[in-house]
């Protein structure tokens, strides 16, 4: 919808990573700004007003979670965090603080671009799409109808709620606790329930429940409903040159 290329602020203290991101993303048509630490980042958001933030968690001064929290106090700018493996607690903390998605280093460019697209799309749409489609899965939120490959699937109310929340987060990760709160309400911490329901949901919706294609597990963090389809929002302006 926008004519100008989306503006992305890259925050990482490693020059090599910034260089790689700048090169790759500029080639894809994004306008890139850089910041080297937390304070720098907060300043840069104010001065450059980017459309999306790629934020490393391991910053020298403020850590990524603190930056996220500070930003969320006044802006809803999409934030994708970068972290190393086995720092699940940090990732969860950042996501719960308001970050939209995460990537584990080392990551491939394709993954990054996909996440950026999803995060920007969320921003771009004002009205939510009533029907979600991905591959054989179709979820009609207005009619509470779920079909797989044309076949209707019967879901319990909880299972449907679960799927609905996943759909609203389509393409983005949602943490266990976020899922629990949104489906069962504040104060629910029972992982057991969540796992069982996800399992049931998969059995009903996935062609091969043991190799899920739609409902994807983010180990240690949460779940992600894959959105492989490229909608009209994915075309065009991003292919520069």
């Amino acid at each position: 919808m926008t004519e100008t290329a989306p503006r992305i602020l890259i925050v990482d203290d490693e020059p090599a990573i910034r260089r790689f991101l700048r090169t790759s993303l500029t080639a894809r048509g994004y306008t890139i700004y850089e910041a080297v630490d937390g304070q720098d980042a907060l300043q840069a958001v104010l001065s450059h007003r980017p459309d999306l933030l790629v934020l490393d968690l391991g910053l020298p001064d403020l850590d990524g979670v603190q930056v996220t929290r500070s930003l969320r106090e006044w802006t809803q700018i999409p934030i994708i965090i970068l972290s190393v493996r086995e720092q699940e607690a940090d990732k969860i903390a950042a996501l719960d603080a308001g970050a939209d998605d995460y990537l584990t280093k080392p990551f491939g460019l394709g993954e990054l671009l996909a996440r950026i697209r999803v995060a920007l799309r969320r921003q771009a749409t004002t009205a939510s799409e009533p029907v979600f489609r991905d591959g054989g899965l179709s979820v009609d939120l207005s009619r509470r109808l779920v079909t797989v490959d044309g076949r209707e699937v019967q879901l319990t109310p909880t299972e449907y709620d679960l799927l609905r929340v996943l759909v609203t987060y389509a393409g983005r990760v949602i943490t266990h606790s976020q899922l629990l709160h949104k489906v069962w309400g504040e104060g629910y911490e029972d992982m057991h329930l969540l796992r069982v329901n996800i399992s049931n949901l998969r059995h009903k919706v996935e062609p091969d429940p043991t190799r899920p294609t739609y409902i994807h597990t983010e180990p240690g963090v949460g779940y992600r409903l894959r959105a492989k389809t490229t909608g009209p929002l994915d075309e065009g302006v991003f292919r520069a040159g």
Partner: protein, 880 residues
């Protein structure tokens, strides 16, 4: 012909010159009051003027002004107050002097006995410690305090001197200065009140200070000094090989018996040996036929042997059939030239019965001289007299009387049928029984009682001691004599048997100890063997002290016993000085513990401590010998165990180093290998001038990407391994869905699967399992990686999951070559890789990481081979 210098003497000279031992100068006089202390102090002042650092350890001025004046200007070390039974006695403070380390210390009254509770029982031992520490000492001594002259002095003056100094201390003195004063002048000084006399001994001193006595003593002291000069001159001559009137090398032998005369014999032998400049031996012969001696006599023999050693003789205990045989055999074998024996004390008839040792010696001695020494026995010093003393419990005598009564009753009942002479047998039987079962005393009683009872009850006229038929007298005599002989012989057999059993017990004990110690390989086993055996044999509690630096620490002790601080101090002393210390020794005899240094050829291994369960019992000389044998065995075993332990540590260290080297090699290789492909691809693309086509470029890039993945996995594995090793693996457990786990794992390895078929077989209704999701996914990824690596690309991989009791079992099976049966357990070791042809990449860490993670969850992981080919890894995880 030139005489070569005697190498032994040379060595002695060198040693005495080279040693850092302090030098001892003795100011010797023949009586109190000749001016020894005064002379010592004057000499000290002379040295002080020369600039020598002097400390006064202990000087007794007896409040005499002239002596006290001499103390001024000298550094007097305050006396240590030793508390004993409510009284404080001033003694020399050895520790203070050792701490001060003066060049010269003055110590009065060399022969003084220290108060109980002091470190050493005698002051000369304190002086010895000072000398060992390199401090020179001046001391004073009266001639009558010499051990070897003790009996002569007693004979001459009638006064027995109790405080003696062993002659070796005098022999080792560097200098002896005789302080002489004509007896008349001494008596004059006594009259003038210038001689110190302790009040209690006033009368004895008066007896002592008679002119005849003094003259004799003076002569003794002068002669002793002259002998010493003679010795020194001889030594001098020997080192320079100056021909001189060398006496033939004599060797003396003295026999020791429990006889109280023995000590006198030993001293006489020492004096003889001195005069002849001869070596001498003191021998005690243990008779095989009469091995068991009363305790008091055994102790006396032990003391006599100890005295002989102190006086410079070599001691030995021999076993033999008869005294003269054993002694002569030893003498002939060792070139003894003279034997010293004591004049027999027993009455003639006893000698006639059992033979006189002296006579037999004289007859069989051949060319060995026999010196027969006479003398009245020492005044008794609390020694048990040789008279017979009952040593069987009193109730045994009652039993023997009862047996006699029984025999009498039997006799009375059959009196009608048998002649009285035949009834004698009953009493004989009683005597034999009493001898076998009750002991010598009761059997003698049975003999006497039997004869009386026989006379009284069975010989007509009954109930009187009179005899009608005098033939019965012969019967009585016969009964008496036979009973006596039988009882003596039987009792002796019994005693011999008991002694044999005792000896056998000791030998068996030593054998058992040796056997156990040989089997024990670690220090704890050795210690336990020692406690069990030594503690049992000696009836004591045992402690083992092992070195920790310069001192020793308690390593272990008998159950229920912990050595106290004081006892540890005794052990430390024994260790530092390499001498026995504590109870029953010269040092710290008041301690409750006897400490024996454990020594092997390599040096001191530790200290063994024995503590009697009841206070007051000392070890007999035999027990001390046995203890030496046991201690030696223990020392060897401890040394061996220590060496084994050291070897094991060295091995462990070596293994750890090897592993580390392997690790570094492996990592270095495996980290660099992917980089080769990555760097190669990038550089190829960089330098491409257009000659590479699209496909080639694509291949390079894909290859580089795959290698980068591999590098990433390797780094992850290394990090995991480090975490597991450091114990820093924290599990974030939460309920997990098994299929979720496997799904995530499969997703991660999707690229590497490359179209391979994965067959999944789960049992339905698997419960949720409490696991750390990320870590278990890692385990599954590693297992899948292995399956991919080790099986051909067209073969499927099976993944299964089922419930087993309170566990869930996940299995991953491949159709590769399988694992060699002997390696089924070792595959989980670090860096293990099954040897197989073809290049299999990877560090070999994967399975060991799986094992670490699975076991951290409380689960099990193991491998088996699939029937039909291939390997299967099974993981069991507890549900809760």
């Amino acid at each position: 012909m030139e005489q070569r210098p005697d190498p032994d003497q040379l060595l002695k000279n060198i040693q005495s010159e080279q040693t850092n031992r302090g030098r001892l100068k003795i100011f010797m006089g023949y009586a109190a009051g000749v001016g020894k202390t005064y002379a010592m102090l004057e000499a000290a002042h002379q040295r002080l003027r020369e600039g020598v650092d002097i400390a006064v350890g202990y000087v007794e001025t007896h409040k005499r002004l002239e002596t006290e004046e001499l103390l001024e200007g000298l550094n007097v070390i305050p006396r240590k107050q030793v508390a004993y039974h409510g009284v404080t006695l001033p003694e020399m403070d050895v520790d203070a002097i050792l701490a001060l380390r003066p060049a010269l210390a003055l110590v009065d009254e060399f022969a003084h006995t220290n108060a109980p509770g002091s470190r050493h029982p005698k002051r000369y031992l304190d002086v010895e410690e000072l000398l060992d520490a390199g401090i020179d000492v001046y001391t004073t001594l009266n001639i009558q305090h010499l051990e070897s002259l003790n009996d002569v002095v007693a004979q001459v003056t009638g006064v027995i001197v109790h405080e003696t100094v062993p002659d070796r201390m005098i022999d080792e003195a560097t200098e002896i200065e005789v302080i002489d004063l004509p007896p008349d002048e001494l008596l004059q000084r006594l009259k003038e009140g210038k001689v110190y006399i302790p009040d209690q001994a006033a009368r004895a001193i008066q007896m002592f200070f008679r002119k005849g006595n003094l003259t004799a003593l003076r002569e003794m002291s002068l002669r002793r000094a002259a002998e010493r000069v003679d010795d020194q001159m001889r030594a001098y001559m020997q080192t320079r090989a100056i021909l001189g009137p060398w006496p033939a090398a004599e060797r003396l032998l003295v026999c020791i018996s429990p006889n109280p005369l023995a000590e006198r014999l030993v001293r006489t032998t020492r004096r003889l040996a001195d005069e002849l400049n001869a070596e001498w031996f003191a021998i005690y012969v243990e008779l095989v036929s009469r091995p068991e001696l009363k305790l008091a006599n055994r102790e006396r023999i032990g003391r006599t042997l100890q005295l002989a050693e102190e006086l410079g003789g070599k001691t030995l205990t021999l076993a033999g059939r008869s005294i003269h045989d054993a002694v002569l055999e030893y003498a002939h074998r060792n070139n003894v030239t003279k034997i010293v024996v004591g004049k027999p004390l027993r009455p003639r008839w006893q000698e006639w019965l059992s033979g006189s040792v002296v006579d037999q010696l004289i007859h069989a001695s051949g060319d060995i001289d026999i010196y027969v020494i006479s003398g009245r026995p020492e005044p008794q010093q609390g020694v048990v007299p040789a008279a017979w003393r009952p040593h069987s419990p009193w109730w045994r005598y009652l039993v023997s009387l009862a047996l006699v009564a029984l025999a009498t009753l039997l006799g009375l009942s059959v009196r009608g049928q048998l002649e009285p002479t035949n009834l004698v047998m009953l009493y004989l039987a009683v005597v034999v029984i009493a001898a076998i079962y009750l002991g010598r005393g009761p059997s003698l009683l049975a003999t006497v009682a039997g004869v009386l009872a026989f006379d009284f009850f069975l010989v007509p006229p009954q109930l009187t001691f009179a005899v009608r038929d005098t033939q019965y007298i012969i019967t009585f005599i016969g009964l008496f004599v036979v009973s006596l002989v039988v009882s003596t012989l039987t009792a002796r057999v019994r005693e011999q048997a008991e002694a044999s059993i005792q000896r056998e017990a000791e030998t068996t004990a030593l054998y058992n100890l040796s056997r156990d110690l040989t089997a024990a390989t670690n220090l704890n086993d050795v210690a336990n063997s020692i406690f069990a055996h030594i503690g049992q044999i000696f009836g004591r509690e045992v402690a083992i002290f092992l070195p920790a630096g310069q001192r020793v620490k308690t390593f272990a002790s008998s159950p229920g016993y912990t050595p106290s601080e004081n006892e540890l101090a005794v052990a430390n002393w024994a260790f530092e000085h390499d001498q026995p210390a504590g109870r029953g020794t010269d040092t710290l005899p008041a301690a409750s513990l006897r400490c024996q240094p454990l020594k092997t050829a390599r040096g001191l291994v530790g200290v063994l401590g024995l503590r009697p369960k009841q206070p007051g019992s000392l070890l007999t000389p035999e027990q001390r010998l046995a203890l030496d044998a046991f201690a030696h065995q223990s020392a060897l075993a401890l040394e061996r165990a220590t060496l084994v332990e050291q070897a094991r540590q060295a091995e462990l260290l070596q293994a750890a180093e090897k592993l580390q080297a392997a690790l570094l090699n492996s990592i270095s290789h495996d980290l660099r290998t992917p980089l080769v492909a990555i760097t190669g691809a990038l550089s190829a693309l960089d330098e491409d001038d257009g000659s590479l086509d699209e496909e080639t470029r694509r291949n390079l890039v894909e290859n580089a990407r795959a290698e980068a993945d591999r590098l990433n996995r390797l780094v992850g594995n290394l990090l995991n391994m480090t975490r597991i090793e450091a114990g820093a693996l924290k599990l974030a457990r939460e309920p997990c869905d098994i299929s979720d786990l496997i799904g995530s794992a499969l997703e991660i390895v999707e690229g590497r699967l490359q179209g391979r078929r994965v067959e999944i077989a789960f049992s339905p209704n698997l419960p949720l399992v409490q696991l750390d999701f990320v870590l278990i996914v890692q385990v599954l990824v590693n297992l899948l990686d292995n399956a991919i690596k080790y099986s051909p690309a067209d073969q499927p991989i099976e993944v299964g999951a089922r419930r087993e009791g309170d566990e869930v079992q996940i299995s991953i099976t491949d159709r590769g070559a399988g694992i060699p049966p002997e390696d089924l357990e070792r595959v989980f070791d670090k860096f293990y890789r099954v040897q197989r042809p073809g290049n299999i990449s990877g560090t070999g860490l994967g399975l060991s990481i799986c094992k670490g993670i699975v076991e951290a969850h409380g689960g099990r992981i193991y491998a088996e081979n699939r029937a039909g080919g291939g390997a299967r890894i099974l993981v069991n995880l507890p549900i809760e």
